[in-house]
Amino acid sequence: MSLDLPILPRATTAAGERYDGVIDLERVRAAHQPVHRRRDQLSADGNTAAAIATLQMWRCILYPGFPITPSTKWIETVAAYVASHPGKKRVKLLEAEHAVADYLAGAAAACRDLVFPTATSSVGLDHMTETTRSLGASGLGNVMVINVYRATANYPLCIEGDPSDALAHRDDGFIQLVCRGPQQIYDTVLQAPCLGMHPEIMTPTMPGYWGIKDSHRSARLVVEPDEEIHAFQDAWLPESRLPGLLNGDTAFGNCVTSRHFQGFKLDQKRRMERVFELLPRIGADFEHHFGRPGLGLFDGAGWNGTADDVDIAVVGMGPDFGTFEALRAGYEKRHRVRVAGMAMRLLTPFPREAVRARLAGAGVVLVVNHAHHYGRGHLTLDVADAIAGLPDPPRIVSVFAGLGGADVSEGTWEALLDRARAALAGAPVPAWGMFHEGVAL
């Protein structure tokens, strides 16, 4: 990167050398070449939508990456754009995912006011693990790892969407946002830095979406003018109060005793939980700016309000929830039951209070897990935790469907709802069930 920046006087801190103002943000902003000067409509898949969003941010000037299916098109799209539009943005293709994560850490620590994105999947995210755990604790909210869900197992190898990778990294210290469809992917990537870089949060973000089912699904995408995006983001992103750290003095330099470790983690946890309040505010502001729903804790379908007395409340995530949305009203009518659902948008930290409030009036909660788990399901455990302590908690029906990106057909959804309906009528509920093509396996 060559920004022709002046060398500024250095100030020394206890942590080492500090280069205040070494990166002239106004010059970085001025160097940005707009990708879209006006609102436009395109046909785009999820990876392309995520790539366009990162290209439109003036704060994104470096794009480290290493390709892995099904996220590869993100770096391909970014690289193709950067190559055909000479400017100050640079793509850095690295040796492996671990190197990408290290690069992110160094670059993000060097300038906390810029955003450093990458995209990966499955074992790519696993390869990053040593560094993602540190990143999560580092306060580097300007790092964004776009996680294109794919089953984490290398055996059997499966390239389709399955959130087991994201779920295996719940405690890395990233804010995990779930999106579905190109528009929501685009919008989420634009909002994520506002959340992660917020002075009260300072935690890296991990927007995620289903591999193949969404990474490769094309639909209409409305893109906003770069100028409007910058206005929205800049309002949420005051200049970082922490110094940019260069010359080997990164955020990873500390080794502490247990006494400090616990205190550090407590602070990390508190920062993370600020997400519950700030995320909806950012989402509301996004909607005010652009007229589309912004970030939320979950998408709802069929609710008349908080704690609505529905018979069956479905909790799920990802594109398969859309199939449920499509058949929900018909199922209600045929079986004379009230059915509503929520698709999680905030996975980590899990919004337990909001989920509890929404599920309090449900007769049965049907939790649909899409990733392998030796217990009742990752999502089920979170939901069980959320509703624990309610005076009359709804029964939980825990099911698995769509593992390894398997299709979750209308027949499967009907079978899942039938099981929930049976539970509503008092039938015994097994600890978990797995379904495919309308068949309980």
Partner: protein, 328 residues
């Protein structure tokens, strides 16, 4: 068949579902992406398009799906009852029934050199059948049997009501997005023009009531420990499906030229070469079983010192070689 389904009416009243079957590397996904981009130019339409493919290499069966509606689309499951079914590569039918689930009166689009009537009879189709000799057009204009340009054009014919200029521009725009060189784009333009005149169609009733019904999923059965599926690590994995389409291996030794060197036998990764021991020469090759496992890797062709193996044109779905006449 009571009536033909009016595709525009299906879009207006509900959701038009389209499914395509082909083989990896054949351009099926590009054809669907181009169609999605074309339809999205109509601001009143909502469109979803996505593929299904595996980690297997070029030649493996793939699928594409599309939903088109005047209302927002949330359903994300695979299309199992398409109103329109596209067969991009006839070789794909060795592994799937491309017409499975298509309702009576549906629309079939086939990349083939055969006529709509022949296809309706051969594949047992009831409804409107469109054909286009896409591979031949591809060979002529693109120097490769790529039928996706023609299949895309035939699909737009089937949908109807689309401006021919916009149809061509949409496909070429998809190519430009992929940074295809201008010279290749021009050849695709010629293929588009040739395809318009080559689409044929007819209405037929050749399907019986039990044809093309989807098999009920009956569970996975007992998987062997460590196996990825019942197909993997077993003879049940029909690797011939991964062979390049339109060709088949042939062993021909009318003069007994085989030297018995056995190079072909040791190089064949699938063990499909038949042989007999010969005291004087070694292992004499007697033939090749190409029915299930020959994936046309070409190892035997490369190593045979007598050049006794060849790759010949073959229409897998019809069981005829190129030189054989096709029944009218």
């Amino acid at each position: 068949m009571d009536t033909l389904l009016d595709l525009r009416d299906v879009i207006a009243r509900g959701t038009l579902e389209i499914r395509g079957d082909g083989k990896a590397g054949g351009g099926l996904i590009l054809a669907f992406q181009s169609l999605a981009a074309l339809l999205l130019q109509d601001p009143t339409l909502h469109v979803q398009e996505w593929p299904f493919f595996s980690s297997a290499r070029r030649g493996a069966n793939i699928r594409s799906f599309m939903r088109v509606s005047a209302r927002p689309i949330t359903a994300a499951c695979e299309v199992t009852r398409p109103t329109v079914a596209l067969l991009m590569n006839e070789g794909a039918t060795a592994a799937v029934d491309f017409a499975e689930g298509v309702p009576d009166g549906g629309t079939f689009v086939i990349n083939t050199r055969h006529s709509p009537a022949e296809c309706a009879q051969h594949f047992k189709l009831s409804g409107r059948v469109f054909t286009v000799p896409g591979d031949d057009i591809g060979l002529k204009h693109l120097k490769a049997p790529l039928g996706n340009v023609s299949a895309f054009v035939a699909l737009t014919h089937a949908l109807g009501g689309l401006d021919p200029d916009a149809v061509g521009k949409s496909f070429l725009a998809s190519l430009r997005k992929r940074r295809i060189p201008d010279s290749v784009i021009e050849r695709n333009r010629a293929a588009l023009d040739a395809s318009r005149a080559a689409v044929r169609s007819g209405v037929y009733r050749c399907a019986g009531p039990a044809d093309h019904t989807a098999a009920q999923f009956a569970g996975y059965g007992a998987l062997p420990v460590g196996a990825q599926s019942p197909l993997r690590l077993s003879l049940g994995n029909r690797t011939a499906n991964y062979a390049p389409s339109g060709f088949r291996l042939k062993f021909d030794d009318p003069s007994g030229a085989c030297t018995g060197c056995a190079h072909c036998i040791t190089h064949c990764p699938e063990g499909v070469i038949h042989f007999v021991p010969d005291d004087r020469r070694g292992l004499l090759v007697t033939g090749v079983d190409v029915t299930n496992h020959c994936k046309l890797c070409g190892e035997c062709i490369a190593v045979c010192p007598e050049h006794l193996f060849q790759q010949l044109p073959y229409e897998e779905a019809w069981g005829v070689r190129d030189e054989e006449p096709v029944a009218p």
